[in-house]
Symmetry: C2
Subunit: 501 residues, 2 copies
């Protein structure tokens, strides 16, 4: 960015400090999930709270507010600088509008609610979490009420993670998806199922990790600016401007868990590693939204990593890595197995096709809770009814029903899920645009070459960071607004062929 | 500690915050040395500087000063509380007396000096570092001058790392050591050397690490409150009240490097893990001084780990870990090989006996530089002359002479080395006291049992943290003041027997 005078430098220095505090906080979290000795949990929680407090104090500092005032009065800012100031102002005001005492109450309730869930889930005891969920719902409504410009609390939560999006728009996209997905899942699950027995043979951990790392190195993940470790739940995290790490997990009797976790988190990391250097340490220095971020994890995981072209490139190497386990498996069988569709109870185990129905179900329940159309005490029954309607299955217990996901039990009801499916929708829209620009993309992938795809995404998505709103970014990159059409075309094409519909 | 009223709680909360900031800083350093991606060095340096600044601001905060004022006016403090307040006051005043601008200048010079050394050492170019060392000497004198209560700058630096010690006392101890060590080394190196060929066979990394971890687990190192990782230079670091980590390094063709690095750092860690819980998060919650800390690393590394009793317990396990490499080696040969004495040029490779002569040489050169009796430009020649006098060897170049150790090139001349030898002296004094209390200690060790030794050290040294001054601690634990006698008795006895003098 130009205009590098003293006042601008002071603002940049403040942004850099906020980014550095965030990076330090990310290191505390990364270490806690990877290598921290187990007896240290209490001390680490205190360290993390201390650092959050320091970040909050700097993010709401009056002197920082004056730097923003002065920047807003300027008429010589570049568009990039203007956007950075606008985002910074929004964060500053948002942080100031929620009283510190409310944040403390909400955070504390979140911890207590989580503890209640940890005990209630294995005991299949929904009644135990009802009072916590009721308080969570109340606090979530209060939080949204600090932002009266959103008439519907769900609009506030959706906008928090996906700037510019609102519940009405999400409703429309989800309705369109459901109309296609429900009959498509019906047709697919009535067709003969592919062979999957070999997915559950024994695959040694080291070989699984090495294969995944070979693939993401080929994707373009830069190990000089990142690394991969093992954690219970995989994640991606930015610890600094040249430090974007990922984690994965390995199940020795599951061929897909490690590989697709690695590809998924690497997709998030390619996005963060691709942000323009000039934006790092400013409000522009990260991905545009939850949905756009998820589009990249899903693109590299599914549109690339579960494609026929990908396995054309990697089947041989994969069989070399696991010669005994795959001695009786053909490339076609492997491709079909990693794309098997089944109606299942658990979101995180769901396939590409049914996954969105799990998300839509949760989103709709959140909508009903926040609007008052559904009472917390009726949530467990409503869950079962919604699963029967959307997925045609019913969990035998609440443990695999309403108690399944941790999200609501952190204390917030609203906005936790829609980003997953918006990401799926956008993944196909971006991929289609890249393919229109480079019609040979599939042939590239079939040779194990990802440079052209990575280059297109870096140029049209990654480099921009938060320079544009998600809507602007999608419009510029794909030539149209967010649309479910490319995604539905992709799913219909892929699964009609796979299941000979 | 009792007296747990609101004012005391406020002081404790401030101490806890300082301790937590230190722990976070330690994590930033640990990660940098273990797992940080290499491209992230610049960003990490900025994060560490930010955190130091936050720590300094909290450590010199006026409100904190008022809490200390109030605590000092009280008459109801326990002796422990009084000692904590006294130490806190000293840190507070020390931090306030050195102007921030001077600290910045000194830190920046340290970085530049270090960079100059990194280039000068492989080029064997002492002239290149002369101006940096001259500035370091000047800044070191200026730093000491902020504390005019010390008439000799060396007294200030010695007191900084070893509270209550001064240069005159160190001089006396070192003179006593030298009088015995020089002729003892002469006699030992004239005697026939033991067999050492097998030390340099190939020892696989995993087996080396596993054996070291088995030993320190038996020592009492708690892996639930710590862990071991690999780094270029081994170290111990406290990241939280239940998080004391160590690192080691492995040379595949050196049997002793990994094992004794592990035992050394574990000794430091046993000390930190043994501090009384009630002291953690207060100024009492760490080891008493550099010298006392080093006494514990050396005790577990040398007095235990290089003893005949230790190898009586572990030789069989060791040979099981490396059956091919040790098939032609007896327990006696192994014991002699890990205690081989030779006049060498490099401090960090030196054996137990000659090591102190390396330290004394450096300490005396620091003394001469600070007092003005030696000019920086003559330091390289003075180094060679001192080595000839003290060790009877002369380095063929300055690279293995005055450019050998990094310490001086961080920007401070004074106080960097004496703690190593004070530690050796104290290691024998503490061990002799433990042995007087439990005459069967050697028999315990020969059975691989360390509980009685660990228990005695925890009770008489570790638990107290900084509750007592080093002098008080030594007096209470051993019944006498710091004395070189037990150490010299130990060395004479061990090496006379080993070399049949």
């Amino acid at each position: 960015m130009t205009n590098n005078d003293t006042a601008w430098q002071a603002l940049q220095a403040h942004w850099q400090e906020l980014a550095d505090l965030s990076g330090i906080g990310a290191l505390l979290g990364w270490d806690q999930s990877t290598y921290m000795p187990r007896a240290s949990a209490g001390g680490r929680a205190r360290q993390r709270a201390l650092l959050s407090g320091l970040h909050h104090a700097r993010a709401t500092d009056a002197a920082y507010g004056r730097l923003l005032d002065a920047a807003e009065r300027r008429t010589d800012l570049t568009p990039e600088q203007g956007r950075a100031v606008q985002l910074a102002r929004k964060h500053f005001e948002d942080a100031a509008r929620v009283p510190a005492a409310f944040v403390t109450t909400w955070t504390q309730h979140g911890g207590e609610s989580y503890s209640a869930w940890v005990a209630a889930r294995p005991a299949n005891d929904f009644a135990r979490v009802v009072p916590y969920l009721e308080k969570s719902l109340d606090l979530s409504r209060q939080a949204a009420a600090f932002f009266p410009e959103f008439s519907d609390p769900m609009d506030y939560f959706v906008d928090q993670s996906d700037e510019g999006m609102n519940a009405t728009r999400v409703d429309a996209v989800f309705a369109e998806l459901r109309a296609t997905l429900v009959p498509l899942v019906e047709a697919v699950t009535n067709a003969p199922a592919p062979r999957t027995d070999f997915l559950h043979r024994h695959y040694p951990q080291d070989a699984q990790l090495r294969f995944g790392e070979d693939v993401i190195r080929a994707y373009g993940y830069d190990f000089d600016r990142g690394r991969q470790d093992l954690t219970h739940h995989p994640f991606m995290t930015r610890l600094g401007e040249r430090d974007v790490r990922i984690t994965t997990r390995v199940k020795p009797h599951d061929l897909t868990e490690c590989l697709y976790s690695t590809l998924h988190e690497a997709g998030h990391a390619l996005y963060e590693q691709g942000v323009d250097d000039a934006y790092l340490g400013t409000p522009l220095g990260q991905g545009a939204s939850a949905g756009v971020h998820e589009s990249q994890s899903r693109l590299w995981e599914n549109l690339v990593g579960r494609s026929r072209a990908f396995w054309a490139a990697y089947f041989g190497k994969f069989r070399d890595a696991f010669p005994e386990q795959l001695h009786d498996v053909t490339e076609e069988e492997l491709y079909r197995a990693v794309n098997v569709v089944s109606r299942s109870l658990i979101r995180t185990d769901a396939d590409e096709l049914t996954y969105n129905l799990h998300v839509i179900t949760r989103y709709e329940l959140e909508r009903q809770l926040l609007s008052g159309r559904l009472a917390v005490r009726d949530l467990a029954d409503a869950w079962h009814a919604a699963y029967e309607q959307n997925l045609g299955v019913r969990a035998p217990s609440d443990e695999d029903g309403v108690l399944q996901d941790v999200h609501w039990y952190f204390g917030q009801i609203g906005g936790a899920f829609q980003g997953y499916t918006l990401g799926n929708v956008l993944s196909a829209q971006f991929y289609a645009a890249a393919q229109a620009a480079h019609p040979t993309l599939d042939a590239d992938i079939a040779r194990g070459e990802f440079g052209r795809l990575h280059g297109w995404l870096r140029e049209h998505v990654y480099a921009h960071g938060r320079r544009f709103t998600p809507d602007e970014l999608v419009q510029r990159a794909t030539g149209e607004a967010l649309s479910a059409r490319p995604y539905l075309t992709y799913l219909r094409g892929k699964y009609s062929e796979l299941y000979s519909l």
